[in-house]
C-alpha cells in the first residue's frame, strides 16, 4: 500500500452517512499507481476485442491511434518528417488535454466532498458561452485584461451552474446527480437558443450559420509551441497545470480542503466536529463549476475561437472528466496523467488523425465511449482492483476490507 496514496482517512463509522468517496475508499487507498494502470490496460484490452469484432485489426488500430496522438514524439528514434508530424499531433493532444485536466478536477474535487458531479459538461458549456460573450464584445481592452476578464466570466458562469446544484443539495436535499444532469440539458438548449439562428448572440456576418461571432484577435491565448496558424499548442495547458497544482494545495495542504474532505468522508462526524456540511457542499460545487467553466474558456480562447451550436450538442468532454477523475484516483496528479491518456485517445481517434482504412473514425469515437465506460465500470467495484493486484506475481493482495452493513440516514440526501 503506497503511503503517498491520499484518501487515508478512516472508513465511515456504522450509522453514519455513506458517501461515494467513502465507498470507493478501497480503490483510492490500495495499490499506488498499479491499479489504475491495470484498470486502463484491461479497458483497452476489452476495447481491442470490440475493434476485432468490427472486423478491424486491434493492433494496427491502436498503433494508428498512438501515432495520431503524437506521443511517439517522445521517442528519440522518430526523426525527419515523422517527427514533424508527431510534433503537430502532440500539440493537438495537448490542446485537448487542457480542458480535460480541469474537467477531471471538477469531478475529482466533488468526489472528495462526497458529491458526484455529472454536470461538468453543462458547466463547461456555460463557461464557453460566457467566455465567448466577453471575448467578442470588449474590443477596446488590452489583450491580457481581455483574456483575464473572459476567463473570470467563464469561471463565474460555471460556478453559478454548479452552485445551483450545490445549493439545492445543501438546502433541499435534491440529489446532485439528477440536478447536474438536468442542468446539462438546460445549458445545451440555452446555447442552442443564444447562438442558433436568430439567437441574440449569433454572428452578424452569416445568419444562416448557427455560430457565435469570432472572438477578438487580442483575446486569443498565445501559442508557445508550433505554428499559431496550424493551431500549435497554446498556453492554456500551463493554466490547467496551475489549476491542478492549486487543487493539490487545496486538498492536501489547506484547512479549506480538509473541511471539504471531512464532509466527503463522513458528513455526520464533520458536523459533530463543527463543520457545516451544507456550506462545504456549496463551496465544493462552486470550485468544481469554476474549474469546468475555466476549461470552457480555455477551449474557446485557445482553440475554438467561437461557439457553434453543433459543438454544444455533441461535446462530451465533460463526461470524460468522470472517467479521468476516477482513473486518476481523484488526485490532482493522477487526474493530469489520466487527462493526457484521454486527450491522446481523443486526438488519436479524431477524423483528422485516424486513417479510415485502419479503423473508421465514426466507429472510433464510440470505441472511446466504450473504453471510458469500461474504466468507470472497473473502478466502481474496488474488489476488482484488489483482485487485479493479487494477480501480479510477488505482490500480495491487500487484506480484504471488512464490509459493514450500515444504516444510512438519507433523509436529507436523495
Amino acid at each position: 500500500v503506497s503511503l503517498s496514496a491520499p484518501g487515508d482517512a478512516p472508513p465511515p463509522e456504522p450509522g453514519g452517512t455513506v458517501t461515494v468517496a467513502s465507498r470507493l475508499g478501497g480503490f483510492m487507498r490500495s495499490g499506488g499507481v498499479l491499479v489504475p494502470v491495470l484498470t486502463a490496460f484491461l479497458a483497452f484490452l476489452a476495447g481491442g476485442v470490440v475493434v476485432l469484432a468490427t472486423g478491424a485489426n486491434p493492433l494496427s488500430t491502436y498503433k494508428a491511434i498512438f501515432e495520431g496522438s503524437g506521443l511517439n514524439w517522445l521517442f528519440p528514434w522518430v526523426t525527419g518528417d515523422d517527427r514533424t508530424l508527431a510534433a503537430l499531433n502532440l500539440q493537438q493532444t495537448l490542446i485537448i488535454t487542457t480542458p480535460l485536466i480541469l474537467l477531471g478536477l471538477a469531478v475529482a474535487i466533488a468526489f472528495r466532498a462526497g458529491l458526484f458531479n455529472i454536470g461538468g459538461q453543462g458547466q463547461f458549456n456555460v463557461g464557453a458561452m460566457a467566455a465567448v460573450f466577453i471575448a467578442t464584445r470588449m474590443h477596446g481592452l488590452p489583450g491580457v485584461l481581455h483574456i483575464l476578464l473572459a476567463i473570470a466570466a467563464a469561471m463565474a458562469a460555471g460556478g453559478l451552474w454548479a452552485g445551483i446544484a450545490g445549493f439545492l443539495r445543501a438546502r433541499t436535499g435534491a440529489n446532485e446527480v439528477i440536478s447536474t444532469i438536468m442542468l446539462n440539458y438546460t445549458a445545451i438548449y440555452l446555447g442552442l437558443y443564444l447562438f442558433g439562428q436568430g439567437g441574440p448572440l449569433q454572428n452578424d456576418t452569416d445568419k444562416s450559420v448557427p455560430v457565435s461571432a469570432d472572438i477578438a484577435q487580442n483575446a486569443h491565448l498565445p501559442v508557445f509551441w508550433g505554428d499559431p496558424e496550424l493551431q500549435g499548442a497554446h498556453v492554456g495547458i500551463f493554466i490547467a497545470l496551475l489549476g491542478a497544482l492549486l487543487a493539490w494545495v487545496l486538498l492536501e495542504r489547506s484547512v479549506a480542503g480538509y473541511r471539504i474532505k471531512a464532509v466527503g468522508f463522513n458528513p455526520d462526524a464533520a458536523e459533530y466536529g463543527g463543520i457545516s456540511s451544507g456550506g462545504q457542499i456549496i463551496r465544493a460545487m462552486l470550485i468544481c463549476g469554476a474549474l469546468a467553466g475555466l476549461a470552457g474558456s480555455l477551449d474557446i480562447l485557445g482553440w475554438q475561437f467561437r461557439v457553434a451550436t453543433n459543438d454544444i450538442q455533441i461535446s462530451q468532454l465533460g463526461f470524460y472528466g468522470i472517467a479521468i477523475a476516477l482513473l486518476g484516483r481523484n488526485t490532482p496528479g493522477g487526474t493530469v496523467l489520466a487527462a493526457l491518456l484521454f486527450g491522446a485517445l481523443l486526438n488519436g481517434t479524431s477524423v483528422r488523425n485516424l486513417d479510415p482504412a485502419v479503423f473508421d473514425p465514426a466507429l472510433a469515437s464510440n470505441l472511446t465511449y466504450i473504453i471510458q465506460g469500461l474504466i468507470v465500470l472497473l473502478v466502481s467495484a474496488p474488489i476488482i482492483g484488489t483482485k487485479l493486484l493479487g494477480l501480479i506475481p510477488g505482490r500480495k493482495a491487500p487484506p480484504k476490507e471488512e464490509h459493514r452493513v450500515v444504516a444510512v440516514d438519507r433523509s436529507e440526501a436523495a
Binding site: Y185, G373, V405
Partner: protein, 398 residues
C-alpha cells in the same frame, strides 16, 4: 399518512389542506385565462392567484413548508401566466391549448418515462439504485429498431429490445450485487457503455443512412370514442405501449404492496439482513429486480424508436432515463405518485412542443421546460421522501 393526523391540529382547516386549496385555486386561475373559457381580463385570475399565494403563505407559517411553498410558487406562476395569456393573441391560445391533443401528447411523452420509472421503482425497492435506466432505455431504443428491422415485425423488435435491456441490467446486477460496486458509479459506467455500444452498432450497421424509413411500428389502439369531445381526442388513437405503460402501474403497485412476493421484495430493500435471516435470498431478489428494471426501461426505449419517433438516432434517450429516475424519487417510490409526476413531465414536454407558436425565436428555449420542471420538482418535493432503507448499499453476508 396525512399531516393532519400527525400534527393533530384542532383548527377547522389544517395548513396542509390550505396549501392544497391554494394549489387548486392557482389551477383555476390559470384555467380561466385559457381556452375554452378565455376570460380576456386578468383581474379574476389575479384575484384567485393571489388568494392561492396567501393560502400558501399561511400554510408555510403553519409549518407546512414544502406544500405551502409549492402553493406560493404555483400561485405566482399562475399570476404571471394568466397576465401573459390574457395579453396574448386569442387565435394562438386556441392553437396551443387544444386540451385533447395536449392530453394525448402528454401521454405519449410520459410513456417512456413511466416504463423507466417503474423499472427504477422495482430495482430500488430491492435496494439497488439504478441510475443506468438511461443507458438501458437507449439500448432498448436501438435494439428495438434493429430487431424490428431484422425480424420485420414490431413484436420481434420489442422482444430484442427487452433482451438487450435485460443484458445491460445483468451487467449492472453483477457489479452492484455480486461485486458490491458503488451503484451510482457503475450505473454511470453502463450509461457510457450503452452510448458507445449503440453508437458503434448504429454506425456499423446503418452508416450515414440511418435506420430504414419502413421500420415496422408498434400498433396503435383505435377506440370508437372519437366523437366524444376531449376524451375522444385524447384517447381514441394511442400506441399500444401507452396502454401497456398505464396498465403496468397498478400491476407493479399490486405486486409490491399486495402480494407476499412483493413484501419479500421490499423487505430486501429495507432490511436485507432481516430478509436473509428469514430465508429470502437477497442476491436472487436483487438480480431479478434489476433485470426486470432493465426490461422495463428497454420497453420505454423501444416505444421511443419504433412507437414514437419511427427511427433511431445516437443518444436519442436524451436524459429521459434520468427524468424517470427523478419522477420515481419525487413520486416517493410509489407507483401511483410516480405516474402523476411522469404525467407532469410529459405535459411539460407536450407544452414545450406547442409553445413555439408564440415565439419562433424562443422555440429552443422552451425545450428546457421538461428539464427545468424536473429540477424544480426534485428540489421542491424530494426532501420529504424516504428511499428504501438499504437502497444503494451492497449486502454482505457474515
Amino acid at each position: 399518512m396525512s399531516a393532519g393526523t400527525i400534527t393533530a391540529r384542532t383548527a377547522a382547516v389544517t395548513p396542509r389542506q390550505a396549501a392544497w386549496g391554494g394549489i387548486a385555486l392557482a389551477g383555476i386561475a390559470a384555467y380561466l385565462a385559457l381556452p375554452p373559457l378565455l376570460v380576456r381580463s386578468p383581474i379574476p385570475s389575479l384575484v384567485l392567484a393571489f388568494a392561492a399565494v396567501a393560502l400558501g403563505a399561511w400554510a408555510v407559517r403553519g409549518e407546512e413548508r414544502r406544500l405551502g411553498g409549492a402553493a406560493v410558487v404555483i400561485g405566482l406562476l399562475a399570476a404571471v401566466g394568466s397576465v401573459a395569456a390574457t395579453g396574448a393573441d386569442e387565435g394562438k391560445l386556441n392553437d396551443v391549448f387544444v386540451w385533447g391533443a395536449l392530453a394525448a401528447a402528454m401521454l405519449r411523452y410520459a410513456t417512456p418515462l413511466i416504463f423507466a420509472a417503474l423499472g427504477g421503482l422495482v430495482s430500488e425497492r430491492s435496494g439497488v439504485v439504478n441510475i443506468a435506466l438511461e443507458g438501458m432505455m437507449l439500448s432498448g431504443a436501438f435494439f428495438g429498431a434493429w430487431g424490428a428491422d431484422v425480424t420485420g415485425s414490431w413484436i420481434g423488435g420489442l422482444v430484442v429490445a427487452v433482451v438487450a435491456g435485460a443484458a445491460m441490467a445483468l451487467i449492472h446486477a453483477i457489479f452492484s450485487v455480486s461485486l458490491k460496486a458503488d451503484q451510482i458509479v457503475s450505473g454511470t459506467a453502463i450509461n457510457f457503455l450503452a452510448a458507445g455500444v449503440t453508437g458503434l452498432l448504429f454506425v456499423q450497421i446503418y452508416g450515414t443512412e440511418g435506420t430504414p424509413d419502413n421500420l415496422p411500428e408498434i400498433v396503435e389502439v383505435h377506440l370508437p370514442i372519437g366523437s366524444i369531445p376531449f376524451i375522444g381526442e385524447a384517447f381514441a388513437q394511442l400506441s399500444l405501449m401507452v396502454w401497456i405503460a398505464l396498465a403496468l402501474v397498478p400491476v407493479v403497485g399490486v405486486y409490491l404492496f399486495r402480494t407476499a412476493q412483493g413484501l419479500r421484495h421490499r423487505s430486501v430493500g429495507e432490511n436485507p439482513l432481516a430478509a436473509d435471516t428469514a430465508g429470502i435470498s437477497v442476491t436472487r431478489t436483487r438480480y431479478l429486480a434489476v433485470i426486470a428494471s432493465g426490461m422495463l426501461a428497454a420497453m420505454g426505449g423501444a416505444f421511443l424508436s419504433i412507437g414514437f419517433v419511427h427511427s433511431f438516432n445516437q443518444g436519442m434517450s436524451a436524459g429521459k432515463g434520468f427524468i424517470a429516475l427523478a419522477a420515481m424519487i419525487a413520486g416517493r417510490w410509489r407507483p401511483g405518485q410516480t405516474l402523476l409526476i411522469c404525467l407532469l413531465f410529459g405535459f411539460s414536454s407536450a407544452l414545450a412542443q406547442r409553445l413555439p407558436t408564440f415565439s419562433e425565436g424562443a422555440a429552443t428555449l422552451f425545450q428546457t421546460l421538461p428539464y427545468v420542471v424536473t429540477l424544480i420538482v426534485v428540489a421542491g418535493l424530494v426532501g420529504r421522501s424516504r428511499p428504501p432503507a438499504a437502497d444503494g448499499i451492497p449486502y454482505e453476508r457474515h
